[in-house]
């Protein structure tokens, strides 16, 4: 059955890149930033977030290193690489095309 909060494939990666365009963040902060910016319309589950971060690191779109969070805990911080910045531009275009196509189907009468 359709899960209401399921994101389109690839969209989460795009949103993460967009978030990291503002600067280096740890995983928890990325999720909260996205939820806050979308007025909680999107819910970012840990089960999707961390695998996505892992995939993106493997692809060279983001770079991770250990740092200390605001609460003084050790956390992995993520930053966008130049390849990630290119990817963000391309996937933003893809998203527009994709969402326009869906809207077109939905508006057909």
């Amino acid at each position: 059955m359709a899960r209401p909060n399921e994101l389109l494939h690839g969209t989460l990666e795009t949103l993460i890149l967009k978030t990291l365009a503002h600067g280096r963040l740890h995983g928890y902060a990325i999720a909260r930033w996205l939820e806050e910016r979308t007025g909680d319309v999107l819910q970012i589950e840990d089960g999707s977030l961390y695998p996505a971060l892992y995939r993106m690191e493997q692809r060279g779109w983001i770079h991770a290193d250990w740092g200390t969070s605001e609460l003084g805990r050790k956390a992995k911080f993520y930053a966008m690489t130049p390849a990630g910045r290119k990817r963000l531009a391309a996937s933003t275009t893809e998203w527009s095309r994709f969402s326009a196509a869906i809207s077109k189907v939905l508006l057909t009468v």
Binding site: R3, L7, H9, G10, R37, T38, A101
Partner: protein, 111 residues
């Protein structure tokens, strides 16, 4: 990765199937062709995913299926949207617009 982006994934595929059937009853192949046509080829509907989705939607009570003759005299399963299916379509459409708008706003915002 780029290809996957234009693949219709599960939740969205369900919604597009319901939408297509809200126009008229159709068989599986017809649904796939219609979705591809309306989206001008942006979506490719994988036959395996389509069949699984149709089974799932039928089990959920959103579609009725019956065997009929196609225009070229073959037997095919025709799917019709049920009343609860229509309600589901309305819900999913509203959700989609809400999420798409939120994502679009976010992606548009300057870094």
């Amino acid at each position: 990765m780029d290809d996957q982006n234009t693949d219709v994934i599960q939740g969205t595929l369900d919604m597009l199937i319901l939408k297509t059937l809200s126009l008229e009853p159709m068989h599986g192949f017809g649904i796939a062709r219609r979705v591809e046509q309306i989206s001008r080829g942006v979506f490719k509907v994988n036959p395996g995913s389509l069949l699984t989705a149709l089974q799932r939607l039928e089990r959920a009570g959103w579609l009725d299926a019956e065997w009929r003759q196609t225009p070229n005299a073959r037997r095919a399963k025709f799917y019709t949207l049920t009343r609860t299916g229509r309600k589901q379509l309305d819900t999913e459409t509203a959700d989609w617009h809400r999420r798409a708008a939120a994502i679009a706003r976010l992606l548009k915002a300057g870094a």
